[in-house]
């Protein structure tokens, strides 16, 4: 049933009346995409944003809708997903709990939130100002007039009804926390004054792109301020902000999110290993191995600002006692984390390890629940590290020989997998995955070293696109030397940050970006700087550029009054 005339609560009508007053701005018959991109906040971004804006003390309990991976990244899937009824139900529950906790904190120490609180608590004026300020942070731009009317209307009406300004504040804040401008990163465009007929992202859209890209959270006060002043539209203003974001310790959160996504670490959430087969691998080991790799990445790329390619050869890592059990090495600090350097050379018990591909996170994630998989590991190197595509297997295949581990004829995975190659249909794909994966066969499905399988010594030699190696350490060196390795990172960084895939006509620019990444010594901070200050990163999607209407008609189409100048 929809009977708008009287079904709607009256605060809505107040809002609607305010909207009518500004009718010229709202008349938006234009069908062109004035908002070229809308991304749903993911769970971590939601948590980070709430902690930054409303306080770290706020406990967020609830279930978030699953994310979607497209073109290899959850960050790209965020441009496709919506909010389902289940998801909204959860957002509503979480939002009300967040608002409740925030209001309790205000109640406890009103002086922290208002300049001159009344003895009994905050005044309604203070509450209105507070809500307005929170709105500007939650929505990552100032509220429009009609939004201000809506939320202060809720505050006044509910506060008045219940005779309690805190209840009003809670209701207003709950409303903001389920509103589209908070749950979605809505990027608006405006006419570009420097290029007739062209469009550009507005400065608040630029600010949120930068902030979620580099810090994985909402823009801070300085960044919003720079957006308000229009600084992000100038070369020097943009550089200044990017340099500030890069210099902050908060960069770590952004880098962790980037690699967690790129390495598909979300799959740890459903990783199950059979405890009877892999007694050393448990829930704790899984969580620690994810953290081990992220610590290594942060240490190598940010703390040491070292060559990205050396991540595949580095012997330095970080261990806990659960990981020490799997690696079979001593751990300096059994109660926590300690640095460890794998010694070079074959160790009959612990094997030889160097680089991310020999870490438990990679080896265990790309295995079956009860055994290793040369094919899954090889496929992961191709797809995750080199950004190459491995075709899906044909539907009608007999894997019986390949996977029967009890077959006396084929004792090792190499012998079984080579059977693939007797079938032409299989061989075409397995030739590109298996030789890589077989190099990691010295590590079982949980990452523990083994020299033999079924009593036969494991042959871990192979070749990657023309480069031969003897074992997993050699494979790491081959991956480090592969030209697709840094190129893949460049592409992932750009796509995760911009929320769109690289367009065909940007290939020349991407080549240049790769050259500059190489000149920087494959430094991640340098790459982030190059991307974050580029025009391509801040460009609205090409489809918008193509059908951008004339500047004056678009100004009418934007129901979004606040701009930097007006603020």
């Amino acid at each position: 049933m929809h009977r708008p005339g009287f079904y709607l609560p009256l605060v809505t009508l107040l809002g609607a009346m305010a909207a009518v007053l500004s009718a010229p701005l709202l008349a938006a018959p234009d069908e062109s995409a004035a908002i070229p991109q809308v991304r749903r906040l993911n769970e971590q971004q939601y948590r980070n944003s709430v902690a930054d804006i409303l306080g770290e003390h706020i406990d967020i309990k609830g279930r978030f809708e699953p994310e979607l991976r497209t073109h290899g990244l959850l960050a790209l899937g965020s441009s496709v997903v919506s909010v389902t009824p289940f998801g909204f139900e959860q957002f509503d529950t979480i939002g009300r709990s967040v608002a409740q906790q925030y209001v309790e904190a205000v109640k406890k120490s009103p002086a922290d939130y208002c300049d001159s609180p009344a003895a009994a608590g905050i005044t309604s004026q203070c509450a209105a100002d507070l809500l307005d300020r929170l709105g500007g942070q939650l929505f990552r731009r100032p509220l429009s007039d009609s939004e201000r009317a809506l939320y202060s209307g809720i505050l006044t009406e509910v506060g008045g009804q219940k005779d309690d300004v805190y209840e009003g504040l809670k209701a207003g804040l709950s409303g903001m926390l389920v509103a589209p401008p908070f749950l979605f990163r809505i990027e608006r465009v405006e006419a570009d004054p420097d290029r007739a007929g062209a469009m550009r992202l507005d400065s608040y859209a630029k600010a949120q792109r930068l902030s979620y890209f580099l810090w994985n959270t909402t823009p801070d006060a300085q960044l919003l301020d720079a957006a308000a002043k229009g600084d992000l539209h100038t070369r020097s203003g943009l550089k200044k902000q990017v340099n500030r974001l890069l210099a902050s310790p908060r960069l770590e959160a952004g880098v962790r999110a980037l690699f967690d996504d790129m390495l598909r670490f979300d799959e740890f959430d459903k990783l199950a290993k059979d405890p009877a087969v892999f007694p050393r691998f448990n829930f704790k080991a899984a969580a620690d191995s994810r953290e081990e790799t992220l610590r290594t990445i942060v240490d190598h790329l940010l703390v040491e600002n070292a060559d990205y390619r050396e991540l595949f050869t580095t012997r330095k890592t970080f261990l806990t006692s659960s990981l020490g059990l799997i690696y079979r090495v001593p751990v300096a600090n059994p109660g926590g984390w300690s640095t460890y350097v794998f010694p070079p050379g074959d160790n009959p018990k612990a094997g030889d390890r160097a680089g991310l591909l020999t870490r438990v996170s990679f080896l265990a994630l790309h295995s079956h629940p009860g055994r290793s998989s040369a094919t899954l590991r090889g496929k992961a190197v191709r797809e995750l590290i080199l950004c190459q595509e491995v075709p899906t297997p044909p539907a009608n295949v007999d894997f019986s020989v390949v996977q029967d581990t009890d077959n006396p004829q084929f004792k090792t995975a190499r012998e079984r997998v080579l059977a693939h190659q007797t079938d032409a249909a299989c061989a075409s794909c397995h030739r590109i995955t298996d030789p890589i994966g077989l190099a990691m066969e010295n590590f079982d499905g949980s990452g523990v070293f083994r020299a033999m399988e079924n009593g036969v010594a494991i042959d871990s030699s192979g070749v990657l696109d023309g480069r031969e190696y003897e074992d997993a350490v050699g494979l790491g060196a081959a991956v480090a030397a592969h030209p697709d390795t840094p190129a893949c990172l460049v592409r992932r960084v750009f796509e995760a940050g911009s929320g769109r895939t690289v367009e065909r006509d940007e290939s020349e620019w991407m080549k240049g970006l790769n050259r500059r990444f190489a000149r920087s010594g494959y430094s991640l901070p340098a790459l982030l700087r190059l991307v974050a200050t580029s025009d391509q990163f801040h460009a609205p999607s090409q489809s918008v550029q193509a059908k951008a209407p004339a500047a004056d008609s678009l100004a009418v189409a934007l129901p979004h009054p606040p701009t930097g100048e007006e603020k």
Binding site: S82, P85, F88, S146
Partner: protein
Amino acid sequence: MKKGLSRRRFLQGMCRGSAVAVGLPLLDLFLNDNATALASGAPIPVRFGTWFWGCGMNIDRFVPTTVGANYDLPPELKYIEAHRNDVSVFTGFNTFLDGAQNFCHYSGQYSILSGAAPMTKEAIEGPTFDTLIAEKIGGSTRFRSIEVSATGNPRDSHSRTGPAITNPSEVSPVALYQRIFGADFRDPNRADFTPDPEIMLRQSVLSSVREQYRDLEKSLGHSDRQRMDQYFTSVRQTEQRLALMLEKPAPAAACAIPQNPAEMTPGSDVDTAAHNNRLFAGLLAMALACNQTRVFNMLFSNSFSTLRKPGTTVTHHQVTHEEPIDEELGYQPEATFFVEQSMKAWAAFLDEIKAIPEGDGTLLDNSLILALSDTQFAKVHSLNSIPMMIAGKAGGKLRSGLHVAGRGDPVTRVGLTVQQVMGLNIDSYGNKSMKTQKPITDILVT
């Protein structure tokens, strides 16, 4: 609430200071289209559900040799013996790819549920019909539909409101219990009822926020507009749920609030899945009996079935591919173990639905539950004769307990029949070679 606010006073309060006059009886405000559907004396509603298991069956051990009523029960079907008169079995219905790739463990179920073979792995060709049925019959209950999976992964769900919008599954029986029977539950059989002004307030805030952003869609491109439309639909559903909480619910004779289940670790071993299957079945049965939902979708295992025997190294999906066919038996014994466990679970699920008395029969008599898999013989991902079953009499609209041989007809005939029985006004279903206008009249009561 401090002052025992009445609904009228609250709403008047909402008007205060506004120039807008409300001239209609306020009590109508929170009535919903179907608000009277549950009034006493109204007919018992028909419910719809799906129950999915992964990796199919063995045709020689599953397909009855006789058609029609009293069909025989080959080894993999013998588990449903107690329900034979309630379950119709559909075999020999085929899926046509029309040039699309056979995406393993994906093309089959979405062909059945959306009527078209998906062209990519990322998006299917349309919504799945459970969401259309939910749209049609789910408006008067708190939940439009409830998705559940015994696999432990919320992404395991085949319910899609659009090509890429998946309704995630509940994976914890405790979380499901809280969602249905927690703080927002209103016992339909309680004598007293006082509408909670707090609920009214929440509803007002939500609809105000939704109205505020209605124009947003105008600024969006086509696909983003669909996404935002889904968001608004989701908000509206929450508002409608709140509106329902302001009405005294109609009594539901069979409704008895179940016990809060003990937390189960979701797990992929077959014993845990079977246990959770039963817990979910009991909760869903009560959710239906208590008028909390009319529609559900349940996964026993996912299509790449990750079921395992405890302590073994390989999953059901893996063994379907890796295990040779035993020459003496003529089938894969390990893989077949999981098929039989799945059929056992299906029977257990029906036990729980049937345990609820309703009218002259049981809840199952007033339901239509479609069981399906993603493939026939998983080893080669065959899409012909994917097993499907329909349990229940749909409130007297269905003849049950028949074996129907499809003889190569498209799977969409089953989907068309189901949708028509559930009240959708359509005369055809499916795309290209799978387009059909022929419902399966054998099972219809005319």
